[in-house]
Symmetry: D2
Subunit: 159 residues, 4 copies
Amino acid sequence: MSAAGPSQGANTPRLGAARRRSRKRGGPFVFPVRVYYEDTDAAGVVYYANYLKYMERARTEWLAALGFPLAAFERSHGIAFVVHRVEIDFLQPARLNDTLDVTVEAAERGLSRLAAMQSCRRDGVALTNAQVTLACVDTVRWRPTRIPKPLRDVLDPTE
Amino acid sequence: MSAAGPSQGANTPRLGAARRRSRKRGGPFVFPVRVYYEDTDAAGVVYYANYLKYMERARTEWLAALGFPLAAFERSHGIAFVVHRVEIDFLQPARLNDTLDVTVEAAERGLSRLAAMQSCRRDGVALTNAQVTLACVDTVRWRPTRIPKPLRDVLDPTE
Amino acid sequence: MSAAGPSQGANTPRLGAARRRSRKRGGPFVFPVRVYYEDTDAAGVVYYANYLKYMERARTEWLAALGFPLAAFERSHGIAFVVHRVEIDFLQPARLNDTLDVTVEAAERGLSRLAAMQSCRRDGVALTNAQVTLACVDTVRWRPTRIPKPLRDVLDPTE
Amino acid sequence: MSAAGPSQGANTPRLGAARRRSRKRGGPFVFPVRVYYEDTDAAGVVYYANYLKYMERARTEWLAALGFPLAAFERSHGIAFVVHRVEIDFLQPARLNDTLDVTVEAAERGLSRLAAMQSCRRDGVALTNAQVTLACVDTVRWRPTRIPKPLRDVLDPTE
């Protein structure tokens, strides 16, 4: 998904309300999470791997908001989205009871891959930034396969 | 917290709206959770230990709704609530993308202990039922100590 | 799994050889685990749900030591062992870098159920004690089914 | 830790046996892990965030093998190693009951930072590759601070 220019809104009839709203705001999809004890470690902060859980929750909710409930969509198409690569910077720690905004923004789309820019923010300040690359695989051979067209269309309506 | 008789509402001025609402409904506090990939295992269902995470989230939100944000409350009193005993029955599995209602209901209160009845429900059907006993400990010696009076009062206003 | 001593068998009809062998050693099956950051929480101790992970690891290693590698065994029989009930007491907290002995001892066996006594110990002192009841289910209908005979025989060779 | 030239062994008197052994083998430190149900998800494979747990376990065991038991070392120096950045490629999925070799190799060391190359391998084949950058922070202000000299010396004996 390339940059969202001002005129692009007119070309995105399939985008759901959540997505459109976030475009109008000029920002990414946002999903709030609360930090519970389960997320923290003995250093008193969120354990580093757990930010990837938050980010996966946000991607799931983002796809659902786009009209693609992940589990049903994967099952009906015989596919799964698997994470292919993550680059993540941990800038500041989140702590118990923090409320974080987890963001998702599609950054690039190939036939079978999708890159998303994500972050976890507290009071508008990014605590982590990540680029997550997903691959669409078929669940029989576990090999890359095309992202189903309805989703491709939503992720990149100018295609 | 002993049985909630019909006249008890009048004696519970400190109860917050969430709690009062749930009393009026005659039911427990309810907190919704969504099942994500992180919660499931290779058997295709929620991993058994993860129900305890859901239940701890619900207890945290329940205490927050009662006016006791857990992290700040524990820190300011030098205490922590630690789980002392769990009895949990796994009746039916939850699956990816399910939305569960996690319930909390105070069942019994001692000076330093609190028992809560909890469940995870899907469409009104209990998938798990648990009794969770918490102990209030001081965070210096990690020994049982009295539940701070403001919280005791809310949990058992007839004391 | 080999023979049981004649006199002991009479007193412990359902106990398997592993159990007997470990009795000869004077104890249950023991599996060591190290506490890492991932296991702890902001209270500086092992998060309560994570003891159930340790216990499941120990059950897996116990079955493997009995000659039943769990994943392959379940797949080949179309079954899964699911946890049906847990009663667990948290007596003392484990901390970062502790080495724990996680124990397993078969306690009772039915046609489709198995109860195990488990504990997590540090320097011989039990930090948690649990009774875990497992049900054998078929993975198609997710309904209770008989524990496959080879495993029943090991768990209860006198049957 | 920069490139390990052939003569470097002579300059590393503080290296423990484990490290020396792995140098003699020409390879990194290796820590084995078993994949349990807790590690997998409903796609039947190891959940992506859990590889970071494996990698953190291996780093802990690597430091312990070098003579630096992490928890005690951090406490005694008032420091913590926090993950600053991760780049991780997921090449092939690990599955239930797999035994993985998790590797660690110091890649680069600054005054307060340390980069490690890590992988999870099955039968010699890398399933994931990662570069993990750690920062040494003081636990009071949670700001970067120098890696304590004894550890620096071991990580980079030519300094």
